[in-house]
């Protein structure tokens, strides 16, 4: 089955991962900007990262017939430094016209601090002024519930914000209600230990239906699985779910969200055969 991987940090993955994803049916990835595992020391570090995301990474993906799209921002883990955030936003300006940039993300909060929230608001304003899609990281573990609550409240205060253009990612059972009830889209991140396991993601689809929900691996340099989405497909089939329901979650829903950016387009199905090398 063809699928879209809507959240993957491919700069941290090997070329073998691209190959395995292509063999498993992946036709496109979208890659949010994120934390490198250490704080970057200056805006120049982000400039180099954004060049990698908009130049090198799409070429690497294309070798395997995978289209590569990306999101730019200062990640929530670095959001405490508001001055750096302003400099990074200025840097992002010159990359917005790159053909694979579909929006601003993944923005949000990490430990749910006042400065992180202010940096988040700066990014949302920047995105709205430039008519960009928004991809939001909701925080980890014990901070998930509080952080999601704070982010939803902050978003609802923005005049003219269309919740259908906002993806609130990494939701779990205790946060998905407040996201969907306010009209936002949400992603279930399939992680081996934190976030949502593959069976739990299938449970959530059964309980909430597929409307405005997609799944992703969020594979990065940590404990994660770049083939989590095809494994989710297997789990859904194991339970007897229809192919049309599965395809909606792994292909049509991410396409519906991403194609709100005029830069996102997929070739017809017959031309999507991965060119696996």
């Amino acid at each position: 089955m063809r699928y879209i991987e809507p959240h993957a940090h491919m700069v941290s993955r090997t070329t073998d991962d691209y190959r395995q994803m292509a063999l498993s049916g992946c036709v496109a990835v979208s890659e949010p900007a994120f934390w490198a595992g250490f704080d970057r020391l200056s805006p120049d570090g982000f400039d180099a990262y954004f060049r990698q995301l908009t130049d090198f990474e799409p070429k690497r993906a294309a070798q395997y017939g995978i289209q590569h799209y990306t999101w730019l921002c200062l990640n929530p883990k670095e959001g405490e430094d508001r001055a750096l955030g302003q400099k990074v936003l200025a840097c992002i300006e010159k990359y917005l016209d790159r053909p694979n940039v579909v929006g601003i993300g993944e923005i949000g909060v990490n430990r749910v601090t006042q400065n992180e929230l202010a940096t988040f608001r700066d990014h949302v304003s920047f995105a709205l002024e430039r008519k960009q899609l928004i991809l939001i990281h909701t925080p980890h573990l014990e901070d998930k519930y509080k952080g999601t609550r704070v982010l939803v409240d902050a978003l609802l205060k923005f005049q003219g914000l269309d919740p259908g253009r906002v993806m609130m990612d990494h939701s779990e059972e205790h946060t998905i209600d407040m996201i969907l009830q306010n009209g936002f889209r949400t992603g279930l991140t399939l992680y081996p230990e934190t976030k949502v396991s593959i069976p739990r993601a299938a449970d959530i689809i059964e309980m909430y239906g597929p409307e405005r929900i997609y799944v992703n691996s969020a594979c990065d340099w940590g404990h994660s699985n770049p083939l989590a989405v095809p494994q989710f497909i297997m789990e859904m089939r194991r339970r007897g779910h229809s192919e049309s329901l599965i395809q909606r979650v792994v292909y049509e829903n991410p396409r519906e969200f991403l194609q709100q950016s005029p830069k996102f387009s997929l070739p017809p199905a017959e031309k999507q055969t991965a060119a696996v090398r």
């Binding site: 990490n110 573990l141 609550r149 704070v150 059972e173």
Partner: protein, 104 residues
């Protein structure tokens, strides 16, 4: 038979057949973890750690009949407050909320 909204399409028997072994495995892992704590070198009571205090509460919730066990366990581990912290304390989350760490 028409499917009820929110239901898993498998019958109870099929769910047991499909998922019993992997969940038996997870349960044994938890038991082994608790036994390992009992065998610790210093023999300290693990519930002195706020994470293990929450873990013990979560096990109680697990054994309490009723719907939404998973959501209730999530909330055992979650920070229930709504006010942002004044400043950051660390990059990584702990896995469980500890009110006594709110010293900033």
């Amino acid at each position: 038979m028409p499917r009820k909204p929110g239901r898993c399409p498998l019958t109870t028997q099929r769910i047991v057949d499909e998922y019993f072994i992997e969940n038996r495995h997870k349960l044994l892992d938890i038991a082994a973890f608790l036994d390992r704590l009992d065998r610790s070198q210093d023999g300290e009571d693990p519930t002195h750690d706020f994470r293990m205090k929450a873990f013990a509460q979560a096990l109680q919730v697990l054994m309490t009949p009723g719907p939404d066990r998973l959501k209730r366990i999530h909330m055992v581990f979650s920070d229930p407050s709504t006010e942002p912290r004044e400043k950051t304390d660390r990059k990584a989350a702990w896995g469980a909320y500890n009110p006594s760490l709110e010293v900033l």
